[in-house]
C-alpha cells in the first residue's frame, strides 16, 4: 500500500526531478502532460484507498471505546479496573488517532493537489509537486 509521499517520489524520480541539485550541468527535463495525467490517476486511487482506510480506523476507534466502557462495567467499577481500562484505552486511542491524523493530512493534501494540478502548466505542476515533496522531507528529517 503506497503513501502519498511514495507516489510523489516515484513521479519525481521518473522525470529526473529527484536528482540532487548540481553546481552546473543540465537541469532536469520538463514534465509531460501524460505524466501529470498518470499522477492524477494514482492520486485518485490513493484518495479512494485512504477514504476506505479512514473509515476502518474510525470503526476501530468506536470499537475501542465500546470495549473500554464494557470492561469498566464488567470489572464492577473497581478503581483498579477503571484505571487499567482507562490507561489501556487511552494508549490504544492515541495510536489510532495518530495514524488517522497522518491519513487525514494525506487526504487533505491529495484533495488540494487534485484540485490545483489541472490548472497549472506541466512545468509549474512539477514545481508544485517538487515543493510539496521536499517540504515534507524537510519537515520529517532533522538537520544533522
Amino acid at each position: 500500500m503506497s503513501s502519498l509521499i511514495e507516489v510523489l517520489r516515484s513521479t519525481l524520480d521518473a522525470s529526473g526531478h529527484l536528482k540532487s541539485v548540481l553546481l552546473g550541468g543540465p537541469r532536469a527535463s520538463g514534465w509531460t502532460d501524460s505524466a501529470r495525467s498518470q499522477l492524477m490517476q494514482q492520486l485518485g486511487e490513493l484518495r479512494r484507498s485512504l477514504s476506505w482506510r479512514m473509515r476502518c480506523m474510525s470503526f476501530v476507534l468506536v470499537i475501542v471505546l465500546i470495549v473500554c466502557v464494557w470492561l469498566i462495567y464488567s470489572s464492577a467499577n473497581t478503581s483498579v479496573g477503571i484505571a487499567a481500562v482507562t490507561g489501556g484505552g487511552l494508549v490504544s486511542m492515541l495510536g489510532v488517532v495518530r495514524i488517522m491524523r497522518h491519513m487525514w493530512q494525506d487526504h487533505a493534501s491529495i484533495d488540494l493537489l487534485l484540485a490545483v494540478l489541472p490548472e497549472f502548466g506541466a512545468d509549474d505542476a512539477v514545481k508544485l509537486i517538487e515543493s510539496y515533496y521536499f517540504s515534507r522531507q524537510l519537515r520529517d528529517t532533522k538537520p544533522k
Binding site: 541539485v21 548540481l22 553546481l23 550541468g25 538537520p143
Partner: protein
Amino acid sequence: MSERPGQERVKPKDCAIAVALPSSFERFQADRSALKKDFVRNCCTTWAKYQHDVVRPMASAVRDAESYGVAVFSDVTFERFIDLCKDEEFKVVILFAHWTERSIEFSDGLRSAEEIDDHIPSSTTSVLDLCVCCPEALANARAVRAGFDTRYNESLVTPRIWFAFYRFLFRFLSTYDISYFKAFGLTVDYLSGKEIA
C-alpha cells in the same frame, strides 16, 4: 626550495570558505527574477528543493567549519572573492559557486574566467579550491596558475555531498599537522573506506 602552498601545513583557521550561492530565501527569491543570474533560474527553481539540497547541508557544514575556526563568507560577491584571494591571512580559499559555460556566478552576477583572472593576484602563495562544476577554464587561467595551487572538480558537483566532504576535511586538518592536499587525500580515502595510517 620552498614548499608549494598545497604542501604547506595548514590549520582550519588558515582556511576561508567563500559561498557564492544564495543562503537565504530572500536571496533565492531575488535570484529567481535576476536576469544576470543563472543558477536558481535554471538549475533549481523551487525553494523547498534548494533548501533540502543546498541550504540545510550548507548550514550544517558552516556550523561545523566555524567550530574549527574556519572563516566562512556567505553570499560572496566578485569583489569579496578577489579580496579573499589577496588576503594573506588565508592560506586556503575554498569557493562554492555555480559554473556556466565560461563564467562563475557570484552573488552580484556572472563573471567570466578571463575577468576573474585579470583581477586575481598572481603573486600569492595560497591554495585555491574551486568547488565548482568543471571550471577548467578558470583553473588553467594564467594568474590562477601562477599564484595558486589549484584544485578543482572535473565532474559535476553535488553540494550535498561536498558540504559533507569538507566537514571531514576540516576535522582532519584540525586533528593532524598536515598540508591541505594531504588532508584532502585523507578525506577521500576515509570516505571511500580505505584504512588511514
